[in-house]
Symmetry: C2
Subunit: 207 residues, 2 copies
C-alpha cells in the first residue's frame, strides 16, 4: 500500500488527482504535478520512481479516499436495503457539484487512456472501480431477497451497471461542460432500480 504519511507525498498525490482529472493522464507532465503540489522535482523522485509509479499511487490513494467517503456517508443508515441502494444513487447525484474535473473520476479517466498500453495502471483502475461496485452488492442482494426478485440479472451485475452509468454520465458532463446531463442519467438509474424492484410509484416520487 502507498505510504501517505509524508506531507509532500500527500501533496503530490492530491496534485495528481487534480491535474490528471483536468488534463488526462498522458498530457500530465511530472512538472505539472510538482507545480500544482508546490514541491520540487527532487522531492517528486524521492517519493515516486516515475509518472507511472505516481499514477499507481494516485489510484490507490483515490480508492482509499473514496472508500472512506462512502463508508461514512448516510445512505447506510436506512433499514430497508432497497432504500440504502437508492440513497446511494441519490448520494452520487449530490456529489455532482462544482467544476467537471472536481466531480469526475480519476480511475475512469486513467483507464480510458491506458487500458491498452499500461496494464499496471489499468489493473489499479479496475481494482478501484470493481472494489467500489462490490460495496453495493450486499445491499442489492438483500433487497432482491426482501422484495422476492427472481431475476435474470445478479447483484454483482447491477452493482457494476451503476458504475457504468456514472462513468458514462461523467463523459456526457465533460462533453456538455456541466453536471446537468450527468444528473439526468443518475435520475434514470434511480428510476431503473425503482422499476426493477417494482416499488410503487408514490414511493419513487418521494426521492
Amino acid at each position: 500500500m502507498t505510504d501517505i504519511s509524508h506531507p509532500s507525498k500527500t501533496k503530490l498525490l492530491e496534485a495528481a488527482l487534480q491535474v490528471i482529472r483536468a488534463k488526462g493522464y498522458s498530457a500530465t507532465r511530472i512538472e505539472d504535478i510538482c507545480a500544482a503540489a508546490g514541491v520540487t522535482k527532487g522531492s517528486f523522485f524521492h517519493h515516486f520512481k516515475s509518472k507511472e509509479d505516481l499514477a499507481l499511487g494516485a489510484a490507490n490513494y483515490w480508492s482509499a479516499m473514496t472508500s472512506e467517503l462512502f463508508a461514512a456517508a448516510p445512505y447506510h443508515d436506512h433499514a430497508d436495503p432497497l432504500d440504502r441502494v437508492l440513497a446511494y444513487v441519490d448520494f452520487r447525484k449530490s456529489l455532482l457539484e462544482g467544476e467537471v474535473e472536481e466531480f469526475t473520476c480519476l480511475v475512469g479517466t486513467m483507464v480510458q487512456e491506458t487500458f491498452a498500453t499500461d496494464p499496471a495502471i489499468r489493473d489499479a483502475c479496475e481494482a478501484s472501480i470493481s472494489g467500489h461496485a462490490a460495496t453495493l452488492e450486499d445491499d442489492i442482494a438483500a433487497a432482491m431477497a426482501l422484495y422476492g426478485i427472481a431475476a435474470d440479472w445478479t447483484a454483482k451485475s447491477l452493482a457494476l451497471h451503476t458504475q457504468a452509468v456514472l462513468q458514462g454520465a461523467f463523459i456526457l458532463a465533460k462533453a456538455k461542460g456541466g453536471a446537468a446531463v450527468a444528473a439526468d442519467s443518475v435520475d434514470h438509474l434511480h428510476r431503473y432500480i425503482t422499476l426493477l424492484f417494482a416499488r410503487p410509484a408514490a414511493s419513487q416520487a418521494t426521492h
Copy 2:
C-alpha cells in the same frame, strides 16, 4: 466538412480512429498516425495543419461513418417505435465484438482527455455524441405517445442516457479487458426501457 476524397487523407483518418482509440489522444503522436497510415509526414501536413486539426477531422469522419452505419441498420424496420428503440439497443450490443479498441468510441475517448484543455475538440465530440443521440429522439417520442407514457423524463433525456450507458460500458470493458461487462450494461439498458414502457415481461423475454 472534411474533404475525404483524397486516398491518403482517408488513410490518415482511418489511422487516427485506430491509434487514438487504442492509445488515447494525448499519447498519440503524428508519427504514430503516419506509420499506421503508411504515409509520410509530408503527406500528413499536406492534409492537416496539426494533430488538433487531425482530431477535428477524425471526429467529423467518425460522425459521418457512424451516421451511415446506423442509418443503414435494420432496427429502423420495426413498425412499433418501441421495437425500434429496443432493436437499436440490441444492435449496439451486437457491435461489442473484437478487441476493446475496435468497439469503443473515438469521441468518448477524446472528450475524456480534452474537455478542459481543447474546446474545439470537446465541441466536435459533443456534436458527435449529441447528434447521434438525437437520431433516437423521434422513435422514443413516438413510443411515449403510442404507449401513453406521461413521464417526468423527456425523449431527449432518455436518448442521452442511452449514450451515457454505452460510454460507461466502454470504460468498464477497458478496465476488465473484454466486452462481457459492457454487454451486461446494455442488457440493463434494454431492461430499463422495457420497464419504462411497462411492456409485459413475456415480450421482454423474446429479445
